[in-house]
């Protein structure tokens, strides 16, 4: 009896370790080196946050500049000023028509080519000292308000995952491909 129990215990141990190693082989998926594991759906959801110009990655939600003003005042104004022009940190509004002058002012309105970038950046990095603490609708609200400060949307326009990618930013076509080297290359003759 004692022997039978012992055998049962051993068998259980063997089965357990077999199932563990079975799990292990499922987990390791790098075909050549057998390292790494598939990320879980939850892990991916937590990190898969970028928003592209076509709007992919935007979370469902909406707001208006009128509603976003309160959030902006509470969360953004200290660094960016009441109307986005005062600083002390990055100036967000104004500067239209200044890019070709001797004092260019690069703002969301004068420089940023895509409205989706604004949402993406607020979502991932703002407010500077407490990123990731605004709700989805608050992010839409602040986005709408900054666009409003630049005269790109009206106070009551609904900014949402559907409407945001449709906004054409004033400097949308302001970017050109890097042509460097942009000076002549004089290949030297060997002595």
């Amino acid at each position: 009896m004692a022997i039978a129990l012992e055998r049962l215990a051993i068998l259980t141990l063997v089965l357990c370790s077999a199932s563990l190693s079975g799990e292990r082989s499922l987990v390791a998926q790098s075909p050549t080196y057998g390292v790494g594991r598939p990320p879980t759906a939850e892990e991916l959801k937590a990190i898969d946050i970028e928003v592209t110009p076509d709007g992919k990655g935007l979370r469902p939600g909406s707001s208006t500049a009128a509603a976003g003003k309160e959030v902006y005042t509470r969360r953004c104004e200290t660094c960016h000023g009441p109307t986005g022009t005062e600083g002390p940190q990055d100036v967000l509004a104004g500067g239209r028509g200044s890019l070709a002058t001797s004092r260019p002012l690069k703002t969301v309105g004068s420089y940023w080519p895509y409205a989706t970038t604004l949402w993406d950046y607020i979502n991932r990095a703002m407010p500077f000292d407490h990123p990731g603490t605004m709700t989805t609708d608050e992010i839409y609200g602040v986005t709408a308000y900054v666009l409003y400060l630049n005269g790109i949307v009206k106070e009551q326009d609904v900014v949402s995952q559907t409407t945001l990618p449709r906004i054409t930013m004033p400097n949308r076509d302001g970017f050109v491909v890097d042509p460097r080297p942009d000076i002549p290359i004089l290949r030297k003759k060997k002595p």
């Binding site: 075909p31 050549t32 390292v35 898969d48 993406d120 942009d182």
Partner: protein
């Protein structure tokens, strides 16, 4: 434009006065050093530190509105030697501070347009075939102050201290991507950090399959937290910002994400108001680091003149020195090793005759590109192009031996 660029060559006073005084003070030795001590020295220690007599540090401006978590600190190029920058003196540029990351909980996830999304732990990467490469890393904003003639940057650390060079060790990105199975539609990858702002940059797949690697070590030990511990993306020769630190994922995509850093920042504004986008490689550049701005030579005689040259497109082929403001150039000696996309040390023996002179270096890389005078770049790119300045840096020595920024001479 012409009249503005001429302003650089106007004199601007002696901002280096304090520096020179300090240098003179250092050289004044009132008493002879004591003889070698007979008492016992210190015992062995677990982690080394430098001599208490050595004081050189990274420089950062503490009197700005910029929070120090998104500031930069600069390598003392005038007081570092050879081609390797000590990890403790490697320049820093953060966007939301240095995160404290436990390597036991950190993973690099490769996902998006791949057959097998995979999360790699630090230990996983260390099991795979490793590569070690000596490469420079330069912020594309390095020497940007020189575009408009510079501010208070009278010395090489302040003007050019956003470049450093290390031996980096890690795993080839191509190897990792092949393990995940890249789908044909993938043309870009988003690289994203685990810092507070989740800094992100889009990188063309071509570069990732070429010479990119995930670095987990620097100069023989695990990365410093300021350099991305426990792992960072390393893109040899490309602007610092694209070498994403604290890397947490690479997402294979069919387009660039157009993140804030690659649209509103790190783009080069041209005179017509358009901006160049995706300006990745750092062009050939060199400068004389010693003697340089802020130094004072005690008198005429022989001096070793030394500096560094580098190119994001390959190896340095030659470095030349001018002592007459660019009228004539003479070859400098390159010190081995001369490695692609790495700082290369050059030397030249200078017999200073005690007269005023405008001196500088220029390099040519293996592609045949010769580092241009800054006004040549300004002529094409205007004065608003803040990034990617690889123009010649001139120093001016006056008869009293004082050396200042020659771009304003």
């Amino acid at each position: 434009m012409e009249s503005k660029s001429r302003r650089w060559f106007l004199g601007r006073g002696a901002l280096g006065a304090m520096w020179s005084a300090a240098l003179v003070a250092c050289r004044a030795k009132p008493d002879a050093a004591p003889a070698e001590p007979r008492a016992l020295g210190a015992a062995v220690s677990p982690y080394g530190s430098r001599s208490k007599f050595e004081k050189t540090t990274r420089f950062f401006n503490q009197n700005t509105k910029v929070p120090l978590e998104e500031a930069s600190s600069r390598t003392p190029l005038h007081d570092t030697y050879g081609i390797i920058t000590p990890s403790s003196l490697h320049f820093e540029r953060h966007h939301s501070g240095v995160p404290e990351i436990d390597p036991a909980t950190h993973t690099l996830t490769i996902h998006g347009l791949v057959d097998r999304p995979l999360a790699f732990a630090v230990a996983d990467l260390k099991r795979m075939p490793s590569i070690s490469r000596i490469h420079f890393l330069e912020c594309s904003g390095n020497s940007s102050s020189e575009w408009r003639g510079g501010g208070a940057e009278t010395d090489v650390q302040r003007s050019h201290g956003l470049t450093s060079c290390s031996e980096w060790t890690g795993v080839s990105v191509a190897l990792l991507l092949n393990e995940c199975g890249v789908q044909p539609a993938a043309t870009w990858a988003l690289a994203e950090g685990a810092d507070a702002c989740k800094l992100s940059r889009s990188i063309p797949i071509k570069k990732l399959m070429d010479d990119a690697f995930i670095a987990y070590a620097q100069n023989g030990e695990p990365l410093r937290p300021e350099q991305g511990y426990p792992m960072r993306l390393f893109l040899p020769g490309w602007e610092g910002n694209s070498n994403v630190k604290w890397l947490r994922r690479l997402k294979l995509m069919d387009q660039p994400a157009m993140s804030r850093e690659e649209t509103s920042k790190y783009t080069d504004l041209m005179p017509d108001g358009t901006a160049r986008q995706f300006t990745f490689d750092m062009e050939p550049k060199s400068l004389i680091t010693r003697p340089s701005g802020g130094d004072t030579l005690p008198g005429p005689g022989l001096y070793e003149l030394t500096g560094i040259a580098w190119s994001g497109r390959g190896a340095i082929a030659s470095v030349e020195i001018t002592m007459d403001g660019g009228n004539t150039w003479q070859p400098a000696e390159l010190q081995s090793p001369v490695l692609p996309k790495a700082h290369t040390r050059f030397r030249w023996t200078w017999k200073w005759d005690g007269k005023e002179a405008l001196f500088a270096s220029r390099c040519t890389d293996e592609t045949g590109y010769t580092q241009p005078p800054l006004p040549q770049l300004v002529e094409i790119r205007g004065l608003n192009s803040n990034y990617h300045n690889n123009g010649i840096q001139a120093w001016k020595i006056t008869a009293d031996g004082k050396i200042t920024n020659g771009n304003r001479a």
